[in-house]
C-alpha cells in the first residue's frame, strides 16, 4: 500500500475527523431544515464535511486523503445519521454547534495553510488555500441548497476570520517554526474572534464606492488652483 498522506496536522488525527463530523452535522441539519430527503441529507453532510479537504488535495494535485482514509467517509456518514434523526434536538443547541463550527474552521484553515506550505507553495498561495479549505464547506452547502452563499453576503464575520486565521498561521509558522504551537494559537484566535463576532454582532458591510470621494478630492484641488 502506498504511503498515505495523513493531512498536515500537528494535532492528533481525531481532531480532523471531529472537524469533519461537525461540518457534516451542520450540513445535515441544514438539509433537514430545507426538507431534503435521505440522499439530500447524506450529500450535504458529505460535501459540507469533506468538501474543503477534497478541494485542498485537488488544488495541490494529489490523491484525495478523504478517499484514501475511509475514516473520513464514515465520519461524514455518522454526521448524516445524526442530522437525519436528531435535527430537532441539534437545533436546540445551535449555539454550541456554532462554537464547534468555529473550532473546526480554525483547524481546517491551519491544515490547509500548512499543507500548502509543505507542498512548497509561497505564503500568499498558502493563505489562499487555507481560506478555501476553511470556507468551502459552508459555500458548497449553500450552493447545493440553492441559496445565495452566506459566505459572500454581508453578515457576521465568517470568511474574513478564516482569511485572518490563514494569514496569522503563515506569519506564526515563519516566526516560531513550531507547527503545533502556531496551530493551537491560530485555532484559539479564530475561535475567540468568531464567538466575539457572534456575541457583539460584528457584521461586514457591503462594498463601498470611493470614486466619488476621490473625484471630489481632485475636484477641490482643481478649484483651488483656478
Amino acid at each position: 500500500m502506498p504511503e498515505v498522506y495523513t493531512g498536515a496536522t500537528a494535532l492528533p488525527m481525531w481532531t480532523l475527523y471531529l472537524a469533519v463530523v461537525v461540518g457534516g452535522v451542520a450540513g445535515a441539519t441544514y438539509a433537514a431544515r430545507r426538507g431534503f430527503d435521505v440522499i439530500g441529507v447524506l450529500t450535504l453532510s458529505i460535501t459540507a464535511g469533506l468538501g474543503g479537504l477534497l478541494l485542498r488535495d485537488i488544488l495541490l494535485a494529489r490523491g484525495p486523503i478523504v478517499l484514501r482514509d475511509t475514516t473520513f467517509i464514515w465520519s461524514a456518514t455518522a454526521a448524516a445519521v445524526l442530522g437525519f434523526f436528531f435535527a430537532g434536538y441539534i437545533a436546540r443547541f445551535d449555539r454550541a454547534l456554532l462554537a464547534l463550527e468555529a473550532l473546526a474552521m480554525g483547524l481546517l484553515a491551519t491544515v490547509g495553510t500548512d499543507s500548502a506550505l509543505r507542498a512548497g507553495l509561497g505564503g500568499l498561495s498558502a493563505i489562499a488555500v487555507g481560506t478555501i479549505v476553511a470556507t468551502a464547506g459552508p459555500l458548497f452547502r449553500d450552493i447545493l441548497g440553492g441559496d445565495a452563499p452566506q459566505l459572500l453576503r454581508p453578515g457576521v464575520f465568517l470568511g474574513i476570520i478564516a482569511l485572518g486565521g490563514s494569514i496569522l498561521y503563515v506569519a506564526l509558522d515563519a516566526w516560531t517554526k513550531q507547527a503545533l504551537l502556531s496551530q493551537i494559537l491560530v485555532i484559539l484566535t479564530v475561535f475567540g474572534t468568531r464567538l466575539a463576532a457572534l456575541r457583539l454582532d460584528l457584521e461586514t458591510r457591503s462594498a463601498e464606492d470611493v470614486s466619488d470621494r476621490v473625484w471630489s478630492y481632485w475636484g477641490r484641488k482643481d478649484r483651488g488652483n483656478a
Partner: protein, 222 residues
C-alpha cells in the same frame, strides 16, 4: 499530427492585464449583488483565475498556476480592490471593459489550447480544454453567486466565439501551418466574434423544434 508544442509563455504583462481585468469585472458582478469583502474577493478570483484552475485540474499538471506563481494572486487582489473601490467608474466605462474582455477571450483560448496540446491531448480534447479555460471562470462566478449559469442562457456569443477561435487554431496547426500564424488567427477570430456579437447584440440561437414542422399538416396550426 505535428510535434506537440511547449505550452505558450505569454509576456507577463498580458497575463497581468488579463487577470486584473477579469478580477475587476468579477468584483463589479459581486458589487451589483451587494456582497461583502469576502464575496468580492471570491467572485473576483473566480472571474480572473477560475478557468485556469479548472484547466489545470483537468490536465493534472501539478498545482494550478495561480498557486505556484504568486504574482497571479497579487494581480487578482489588485483587480478586486480596483473593482471594489471604483465600481462606479468602471460601470460607466463598460465599453472599455468589454473591448479588453473581448481581446482576452482570444488570449485565454490560446493559453488553454497550447497547454492542452503540450500535454499531448487530441483534437477534440484540446477544443474542450480551450473553451473551458476561456469560459470556466464565468461559470464558477455564477455558481458561487447562486445564480443561473449565464453561459447556458441565450445571450451574446461567448463560448461560441471561444470554440471558433480554438477550432481555427487547431485546423491551422493540424495541417502544418506556422505556430505563430495559428496563434495569431486564434486570437483574431475569437476576439472579433466576441466583440462583433457585443457590438451588434447578436444572440445565440435557441433550440428549434423541428418535429412540428415534419408533422403531417392534418390539423390547422392555429
Amino acid at each position: 499530427m505535428p510535434d506537440t508544442v511547449q505550452s505558450l509563455a505569454l509576456p507577463s504583462s498580458i497575463d497581468a492585464l488579463a487577470i486584473t481585468v477579469g478580477a475587476i469585472s468579477g468584483a463589479l458582478h459581486a458589487r451589483r449583488r451587494h456582497m461583502d469583502v469576502m464575496g468580492i474577493l471570491v467572485v473576483a478570483f473566480c472571474g480572473a483565475l477560475g478557468g485556469g484552475v479548472i484547466r489545470d485540474i483537468l490536465l493534472v499538471s501539478g498545482p494550478p498556476v495561480f498557486l505556484t506563481s504568486s504574482t497571479f494572486l497579487l494581480y487578482a487582489i489588485v483587480g478586486a480592490g480596483f473593482g471594489w473601490a471604483f465600481s462606479r467608474f468602471f460601470t460607466k466605462a463598460t465599453i472599455l471593459l468589454e473591448v479588453i474582455d473581448g481581446l482576452f477571450i482570444g488570449v485565454w483560448v490560446l493559453v488553454g489550447a497550447t497547454k492542452a496540446l503540450g500535454n499531448g491531448l487530441g483534437f477534440g480534447s484540446v477544443l474542450l480544454v480551450a473553451v473551458i479555460t476561456a469560459t470556466g471562470g464565468g461559470v464558477l462566478r455564477d455558481i458561487f453567486c447562486g445564480e443561473q449559469v449565464s453561459l447556458l442562457l441565450p445571450g451574446q456569443w461567448l463560448a461560441f466565439a471561444a470554440l471558433m477561435g480554438a477550432l481555427t487554431f487547431m485546423i491551422v496547426f493540424w495541417f502544418g501551418g506556422e505556430l505563430f500564424i495559428a496563434e495569431l488567427l486564434c486570437i483574431v477570430v475569437a476576439s472579433t466574434l466576441r466583440m462583433v456579437s457585443t457590438a451588434f447584440d447578436l444572440r445565440t440561437p435557441m433550440p428549434m423544434d423541428l418535429s412540428r414542422r415534419f408533422r403531417a399538416p392534418a390539423e390547422p396550426s392555429h
